[in-house]
């Protein structure tokens, strides 16, 4: 009499995900249950429709952009590893982690990677630059019909003007980081687990 949902997730997989994302064993099994319950097609992968079925996400103005962050370029299915990798960006940064293995590369939930997640919400065509047009589109998603094109345009212009240091009328990732250097990214882009 084995269990159903978690028997599809092997111990080796859990260990690998633990190493890659830093989630604990119990957090991974809980999130696997969640993944499984979202996977209505029961094919081991989530589609965009599976995400859109979450009402709280469907009413989020940036819902579609967030969903998009889970799917690599050109794909429309995400497996559990990919799911966890994206969720890992929102893991809180713990102090004892900062001195871990220097060869393992930057952890997925570092300040930099959290900022990268936010940057990619704006960067619609994934060319590592936020153009005026992209900024306008994202702004439009957030405000709906409540602000006119002209006003939105001037907001976009001012934002780019403030951030753009090399004069190419777009915001690169390093310019993005510079603008947000005083923001408490670690706290604002983290989700705390209850156990």
């Amino acid at each position: 009499m084995g269990s159903r949902a978690s028997s599809l997730l092997r111990e080796e997989d859990i260990e690998e995900i633990k190493k890659e994302t830093g989630f604990s064993h119990s957090q991974i099994t809980r999130l696997y249950s969640r993944f499984h319950s979202l996977d209505k097609g029961e094919n081991g992968a989530l589609s965009r429709e599976d995400f859109q079925r979450i009402p709280e996400l469907a009413i989020n103005p940036l819902g579609d952009r967030i969903i998009n962050a889970f799917f690599p370029e050109g794909e429309d299915q995400v497996n559990f590893r990919g799911f966890m990798r994206t969720l890992a960006h929102f893991r809180p940064v713990e102090d004892n982690e900062k001195n871990k293995d220097p060869n393992s590369g930057e952890p997925l939930n570092s300040r930099n990677n959290k900022l990268l997640f936010a940057f990619r919400l704006y960067d619609l065509d994934r060319d590592d630059k936020i153009s005026r047009d992209e900024l306008l589109q994202v702004l439009r998603m957030m405000v709906g019909v409540n602000i006119s094109d002209e006003q939105l345009g001037s907001i976009a212009d001012r934002t780019i003007q403030e951030a753009d240091t090399n004069g190419d009328m777009s915001i690169s990732f390093s310019e993005f980081i510079k603008v947000l250097e005083k923001v408490d990214v670690e706290q604002k882009m983290s989700i705390r687990f209850l156990h």
Partner: protein, 442 residues
């Protein structure tokens, strides 16, 4: 030397005797204590099983994550508060709208939180149990524990499918046939007090037999608040069995759609004995027609209280979802009722997407038992200056509070339909106000 041929009639005899012993007292509202004895044995067995499982998980030090607790910390801070905090260390621009690149952090965090855990999607599937109750269907997170437990489970299967199921199916069949025959018979009488009394008797008897057919143990609380004639009874909805549970304690006028087949036969028979309200499918679209028919029924103080489930669909009994305002526009006194099932003995929730009616009833009849609490709440009426939606929410809160259920504003219709755009538009509106203030003073 007993041969199979001799044993079989004896078994049949025992079966018939058992059915009669359960059924006849039930019809008259008495009890021989068979079901009570069964429940006692069941509880003891489940307690033993739970202890075994707990001991085992302690020994193996397997931390079974308790699914009844939340996964992540969620604070309900508002959009405005959080975005203001995000912008804290930045000088506010002189003109041209107040936008910061960091605004997007709020939406992304909220979005990912809802991906990890949300309040709505899990209400449409069965509640997870904290400890196994020896039914395979609830065995989602439990591993093999011990041989003894497995044997007990095996014995349980034999008992449930071999003894309980035939017994229950027989009782249910008797109950329903009695309903059809009895109500048709009563229908021949002219309208008079005797007819009403007999009709109630027939209905209640049938529901009592059906309740025995599910090994249902129902605890009624605050019976002084029981719905009276000319009133409207509203309750939270978990399964079609809710009707049997409530009607065991009194007569109600049912409201529903006309069905074909066996359901149709039952409906037509019932309505001969006393007025129920059945709508054709086309009629249900016309809200005014529906409201008028209900209002006419309610205004006749001789008619039984109508029974309505304002959620409109079955929810998994951990929460109460939005009450549709239609029932609260009829006028008349509302008698709220809270129904809470004990999931330890059997999961009563009907996941209509996953199981059809027949498989659902089969699952019900092969569970251990149905145990539930019914609370009658004091009657409520619409107050001055309160519109139907506010009234509905007030009643919903009262029911949720009494039943220990989570009070949600989400629409039960989200089980199948997409969420309305208006909610997203609300958020966009609030955010827009933060970007561009309408007034120039600041």
């Amino acid at each position: 030397i007993r041969r199979m041929e001799d044993v079989w009639p004896m078994l049949r005899m025992a079966f018939v005797v058992l059915v009669l012993l359960i059924m006849l007292p039930a019809m008259f509202g008495l009890s021989l204590g068979i079901t009570e004895a069964y429940m006692k044995i069941l509880i003891k067995t489940l307690e033993w099983a739970t202890l075994k499982i707990q001991k085992n998980s302690e020994e193996k030090k397997t931390l079974k994550p308790s699914s009844s607790n939340g996964l992540i910390q969620r604070d309900d801070s508002s959009l405005e508060k959080e975005i203001v905090e995000l912008r804290r260390n930045r000088p506010r621009p002189v003109e041209g709208g107040d936008f910061a690149l960091s605004d997007v952090f709020y939406f992304s965090r909220r979005g990912v939180e809802s991906i990890m855990e949300d309040e709505v999607t899990h209400r449409f599937s069965s509640e997870e149990l904290a400890s196994w109750n020896l039914l395979t269907r609830t065995n989602n997170n439990f591993h093999y524990i011990s041989l003894r437990l497995t044997i007990l489970w095996g014995v349980g299967v034999c008992i449930r499918y071999g003894i309980l199921l035939p017994l229950r199916v027989t009782l249910a069949a008797i109950g329903i046939s009695w309903l059809v025959v009895g109500t048709t018979g009563v229908g021949f009488l002219p309208s008079c007090r005797l007819k009403d009394w007999l009709s109630e008797l027939v209905h209640v008897m049938c529901y009592r037999i059906c309740a025995r057919g599910l090994s249902a143990t129902i605890h009624y609380h605050n019976r002084e608040n029981k719905p009276k004639k000319g009133g409207i009874c509203v309750a939270n909805h978990t399964s079609p069995i809710d009707v049997v549970i409530l009607a065991n304690d009194g007569g109600y006028a049912m409201v529903g759609q006309v069905h074909g087949g066996l359901m149709g036969v039952i409906q037509r028979a019932m309505v001969r004995a006393c007025p129920h309200i059945w709508f054709e499918r086309a009629e249900m679209k016309d809200r005014h027609l529906v409201t008028k028919r209900l209002r006419d029924h309610v205004n006749d103080k001789n008619k039984l209280p109508i029974l309505i489930f304002p959620e409109g669909t079955c929810i998994n009994n951990t929460s109460v979802m939005m009450f549709k305002k239609g029932s609260f526009e009829i006028g008349g006194t509302i008698y709220p009722v809270a129904i809470k099932y004990d999931p330890q003995f059997g999961d009563a929730f009907w996941n209509s997407g996953k199981y059809n009616m027949v498989s659902y009833l089969l699952r019900m009849m092969t569970s251990w038992a149905i145990v539930c609490n019914v609370w009658y709440l004091p009657p409520m009426t619409q107050q001055e200056g309160e519109d139907a939606v506010q009234f509905a929410n007030r009643v919903k809160s009262a029911i949720a509070h009494q039943g220990g259920l989570v009070d949600l504003s989400w629409d039960g219709g989200l089980k199948r339909a997409k969420v309305k755009d208006t909610f997203r538009q609300e958020q966009q509106k609030i955010y827009s106000h933060m970007l561009v203030r309408d007034d120039s003073s600041d």
